[in-house]
């Protein structure tokens, strides 16, 4: 028998505030980001981009660039070795433009040189003869019949029509509203960067900061004309992602240059180029009508959404699906007609960003709920509680919400968080840094109005509409030099959200072993799916849990085989490095590890359905809910704002690392607050006018209030540990809550975010609309490119992968 010491619990397992394993190096400046990558003899890549939103390329003259000092390669579309286009959902985006450019910033040629400066100068010597074409840069005009066409088949990317109950049902009271949201940028502090190294087998090794290694590879390999296994992608240090790294940026370009020159090629975007080199949050226009009974029950919602997808598809079709299906808010509504359209324009492409369509919808539906409350004379919180979804409620797509749905709880618990104390009034009684304007000394307490706003919202965890975004993990348990050791291999991308730490916590809890090693993430193991859609804890966490479970079973078999004395009916368990039988120690785990044990497992979430002609289907995996209350102070004379407090309650299922969850709530809130108050790419005639951190403002610490969070824990059935995704919800509700608080403070309509000082002082009129566009004619509810047989992107390739396996 083993030792009989009183056993402690395994430390560092799930449910604990385990410190982030990447935390210390990142805070000490010792962490290597992708932009720090280096290889001896490497070349630097540079991208020449289109200066026009829409133009025909008559010719490209590269000879002067080729002859420039230190230049090793100048490549154009002709040099793309394989397929000329790529894309997340549809391969509609040229690796390098030929014939036409469709947005300002579209890559046209790439250069490799011995120094980034030489590459830049050589690129400036490439002469592209453009014939400028009329561009369409307004999402509503894009739907007009005579609008310039971005794609041969037109400008409609997807049109979703959701018919729920009887859309003609009448109500006692109706409120109507028109809303707009601007183009937000993910603004990750680490710009796009990576290093491509040609390999001896004719393949390529690419080190890159990304969110999904395998989907990068699936897009890269066909364009490079290489079989999948010859393209190996390794995760380099990621400096934030928020959706911006879901699409390919420099991966194919650097690989082309490396394969062409036979040398390692690094590409590292500067700040301005970063704004051109990734997709953004879709600007939106939303028309809504809410009908309710006199006592405040929602009867019917009519929603029309328009999203500007920009020049290429990226993930716009999924974003359109999400914005549309979540358009009614976390409320029970028996009847609805929701129509959402994603359009192509000659604006910069939009795609994934934290909240993924749910953000825009929440801004609109929560403003509608406040309007309705005002018209009915009902307290806004009361109105929300009255209509709150719960388990068993029917989602507008007909899906029955069968998981936990603590909507009432998040609303009530958020509302119960104590309000911050009133600030002392009158000049000279408070620290000027605490008034709107902060460090800039614009006021000593004059003209201040306080406002309180509330918002509830929801979103799906993991991919929807029939997509099987599975995750694989490999786990090995061995006798290490200092006791048992777990090694985990997963392709999950740590993008700053903490997934690495969570995976180690899961392994500790599952195997009762504290020493856990995580191998670097790369494509030498199966896909982990994307670090997006709030899914990685559930999906890769689920895969590690399964693999650990398989390892444990194998270990227990050994234990049973070897320990003749053991009670065959006794239950085996692992804790703090020991094998326990019926709670009695049998011995240290390593005693049974003369041979290591390895297992690989793939975790699939439950299947979902595609949406049908009437917008119906069980399309989402799991729903999570949140509420936030914002308290703001507005300087009514200057239109400047300080957010005093954010109260947050979030449905997290169960918190595997409460501190990490709170971190996500705070960070997500900052991004939502930024959208409400300052973050907007100003695009005029297709050109971004503020592609810099001088003029694209994100909140500083003086703009961020304390966030008081409450975690509502009701474990989700059928999901590993019952944990729901937590990465996006606070972004969804924060912007809506801050906007509501500003309305409450000023009495103004504020139907567009970001809210500008001009809006708050009444110098600018709220945007109005002549009404929603007519529903476009589309062949069906799926993405339009699919019906036109445009070369498929990831979906087709993933399916092929599955066939190969």
């Amino acid at each position: 028998m083993g030792d009989t010491r009183v056993r402690e619990r395994t430390r560092g397992g799930i449910g604990e505030d385990v410190a982030r394993i990447d935390g210390l190096p990142k805070s000490k400046g010792a962490f290597a980001y992708a932009s720090d990558l280096w290889a001896d003899g490497m070349l630097w890549g540079h991208t020449l981009r289109s200066p026009h939103p829409h133009a025909r390329i008559r010719s490209i003259e590269i000879s002067a660039a080729v002859a420039s000092p230190g230049v090793h390669a100048v490549l154009t579309a002709e040099d793309v070795p394989g397929k000329k286009t790529y894309g997340l959902e549809f391969a509609d985006q040229p690796v390098l433009a030929w014939d036409r450019v469709r947005y300002v910033g579209e890559p046209v040629a790439i250069v490799a040189a011995e120094h980034p400066e030489l590459a830049r100068r050589a690129a400036a010597r490439i002469v592209v003869d453009y014939e400028v074409l009329p561009a369409v840069t307004d999402m509503k005009e894009a739907l007009e019949p005579d609008a310039p066409k971005v794609m041969e088949f037109g400008n409609v990317l997807r049109h979703v029509r959701i018919v729920h109950g009887d859309p003609d049902a009448d109500a006692d009271v109706w409120v109507e509203g028109y809303y707009e949201t601007g183009m937000q940028d993910q603004a990750p502090l680490g710009p796009e960067a990576g290093l491509a190294v040609p390999a001896e087998d004719g393949g390529i090794d690419v080190y890159v900061a990304t969110q999904w290694l395998h989907v990068d590879r699936q897009q890269m390999a066909p364009c490079l004309g290489l079989p999948m296994e010859k393209v190996r992608v390794y995760l380099a240090g990621v400096g934030g992602a928020f959706g911006a790294r879901e699409d390919v940026s420099m991966q194919i370009h650097a690989s082309m240059l490396a394969l062409h020159t036979g040398k390692p090629v690094k590409m590292s975007y500067g700040r301005a180029e970063s704004f051109l080199g990734h997709v953004h949050r879709h600007p939106s226009r939303i028309w809504m009508r809410h009908g309710a009974t006199r006592d405040g029950r929602l009867v019917n919602i009519r929603a029309r959404l328009l999203l500007d997808g920009g020049a290429y598809a990226s993930s716009s079709t999924a974003v359109t699906g999400n914005a549309s299906t979540f358009a009614c808010g976390p409320y029970e509504v028996p009847n609805a007609l929701i129509e959402g359209t994603g359009v192509y324009t000659n604006n910069p492409p939009c795609g994934a960003m934290r909240g993924f369509g749910a953000v825009q919808a929440c801004f609109a539906y929560e403003a509608q709920m406040d309007k309705l409350a005002a018209v009915l004379g009902i307290d806004p919180i009361e109105l929300r509680l009255k209509n709150a979804l719960s388990t068993g409620s029917v989602f507008p797509t007909g899906q029955v919400i069968d998981g936990t749905a603590p909507v009432r709880e998040v609303i009530e618990r958020c509302a119960a968080i104590p309000l911050p104390p009133e600030e002392p009034t009158g000049p000279a009684t408070r620290d000027p840094i605490t008034v709107p304007g902060g460090a800039q000394n614009v006021g000593h307490g004059e003209g201040l109005k306080r406002g309180v706003g509330f918002a509830a919202g929801y979103k799906n965890t993991a991919f929807s509409e029939g997509f099987d975004d599975s995750s694989e993990a490999w786990v090995r348990l061995s006798a290490g030099p200092a006791g048992p050791l777990v090694e985990i291999r997963s392709a999950a991308a740590e993008v700053g959200q903490g997934v690495y730490t969570i995976l180690t916590q899961i392994a500790r809890s599952e195997l009762g072993v504290e020493r856990v090693i995580l191998d670097p993430s790369d494509t030498n193991i199966g896909s982990a799916g994307s670090s997006s859609a709030s899914r990685q804890t559930m999906m890769s966490g689920g895969a590690v849990q399964l693999a650990c479970g398989a390892v444990r079973e194998a270990l227990f078999e050994r234990v049973r085989a070897r320990e003749a004395s053991s009670d065959p009916a006794g239950e085996l368990r692992l804790e703090a490095g020991q094998v326990l039988e019926s709670e009695l120690p049998l011995g240290p785990i390593e005693r049974f590890l003369d041979e290591p044990i390895e297992e690989t497992r793939v975790f699939h979430h439950r299947p979902t359905e595609p949406i049908d002609e009437r917008g119906q289907g069980a399309i989402h995996v799991s729903f999570a809910f949140a509420a936030e209350r914002a308290v703001v102070e507005v300087d009514e004379d200057l239109g400047l704002v300080r957010v005093i407090q954010i109260a947050a309650a979030q449905d997290v299922g169960s918190a595997l690392n409460p501190r990490s969850v709170e971190g996500q709530i705070e960070g997500g809130t900052a991004q939502g607050l930024g959208l409400a108050l300052m973050e907007e790419l100003q695009v005029v005639d297709g050109r971004i006018r503020n592609a810099s951190f001088t003029d694209y403002l994100i909140p500083t610490i003086l703009d961020m209030p304390p966030v008081v969070s409450v975690l509502v824990e009701e474990p989700e059935p059928g999901v590993p540990y019952g944990a729901k995704g937590v990465g996006e919800l606070s972004t969804i509700v924060a912007g809506a809550a801050v906007a509501a608080a500003l309305r409450n403070a000023t009495g103004r309509e504020l139907n567009r975010i970001p809210v500008k000082p001009d809006d708050l002082v009444g110098l600018a009129e709220p945007p109005t609309s002549s009404g929603p566009p007519a529903a476009p004619d589309v062949p069906g509810p799926r993405s339009v490119p699919e019906y036109f047989g445009l070369g498929a992107g990831q979906m087709e390739i993933l399916a092929n992968d599955a066939d190969d396996a």
Partner: protein
């Protein structure tokens, strides 16, 4: 690219005479941005950040001299009695920028959004310049002649700014759409000069250069005389006069629409800031806290 490292001002001026195209670099917070963005490729840099002559400030004969190389961080620590200058310095960038950035660099760049510039304008400062064979000084408004255009000759360096110490309250305020680390959308400096019985108001970011609101200045000085406020700080200025002053300040602005803000908002903000700044100054006089 050569980097010249003079040890004294004299050496620096000789180097500049010999190589007028050499670009002075002080804190580098503007120069390095330009270099990094490849907007500017000077043949040589001349590093002036160690020159002792530029790093000093002093009071002499009722005048204040602020060396071109004094950083915002030092102003905040060492010159806190110069309230408007300290407040302006506090609004510049982040602590890192304030530890490197200098008033000389702000003058050299000559952006209308330079936060030290409205303060120098409101102090009616002279900018002192020198070359190897001459020294001269020009008034603030003759130094900045257009957007990022200065009267500096290629062989000259900025030595600093000099102004008569003012007895009376004053303030600097800056509008930006976030609460720190933001380029000015509109800035205003107001200085009350008890000895000259004058009020001076300068505006930043609302014109091609920093502007003074002269008409508003004359108007409010007369109103203060009429109300007896110069002799009795307890005497109130009529409410209409405050409003009329604010309107005149706004009228002096020549703002444009750009990515940072609209012309209409800038003008509006000038009026609000003017009224507030005058209110604070009058209150400070009432309470007797106006400092030289």
């Amino acid at each position: 690219m050569d980097v010249l490292l003079p040890r004294t001002l004299e050496e620096a001026l000789e180097m500049k005479a010999a190589k007028p195209e050499a670009l002075p670099i002080a804190g580098g917070t503007d120069v390095m941005v330009e270099l990094n963005f490849d907007l500017h490729r000077p043949e040589a840099l001349i590093d002036i950040c160690r020159l002792p002559e530029l790093r000093e400030w002093k009071r002499e004969n009722g005048m204040i001299f602020l060396g071109a190389g004094v950083t915002y961080g030092r102003i905040m620590r060492e010159l806190s009695e110069l309230t408007p200058l300290t407040q302006a310095s506090r609004t510049v960038g982040s602590p890192q920028i304030r530890n490197r950035g200098t008033v000389g660099g702000n003058l050299g760049t000559g952006s209308p959004a330079g936060d030290a510039l409205p303060v120098l304008a409101a102090y009616d400062a002279e900018i002192e310049l020198a070359s190897a064979n001459r020294a001269r000084s020009v008034r603030w408004n003759e130094f900045h002649v257009g957007v990022k255009k200065t009267a500096l000759e290629p062989d000259e360096l900025i030595l600093g700014a000099r102004w008569r110490a003012v007895r009376g309250p004053g303030s600097f305020s800056k509008i930006g759409t976030r609460n720190a680390m933001v380029i000015s959308v509109a800035g205003l400096c107001l200085v009350m000069d008890d000895d000259a019985r004058a009020v001076r108001v300068a505006l930043g970011s609302v014109g091609p250069t920093v502007l003074r609101a002269s008409e508003a200045e004359t108007f409010v000085a007369e109103e203060l005389t009429r109300s007896g406020n110069w002799d009795d700080p307890g005497a109130d200025l009529p409410v209409d006069a405050m409003g009329a002053f604010a309107e005149r300040v706004a009228a002096a602005a020549r703002p444009i629409d750009d990515v940072r803000g609209t012309a209409a908002y800038r003008r509006h903000a000038c009026a609000v800031l003017a009224r507030r700044a005058l209110g604070w100054a009058l209150a400070a006089r009432r309470e007797g806290v106006g400092r030289p």
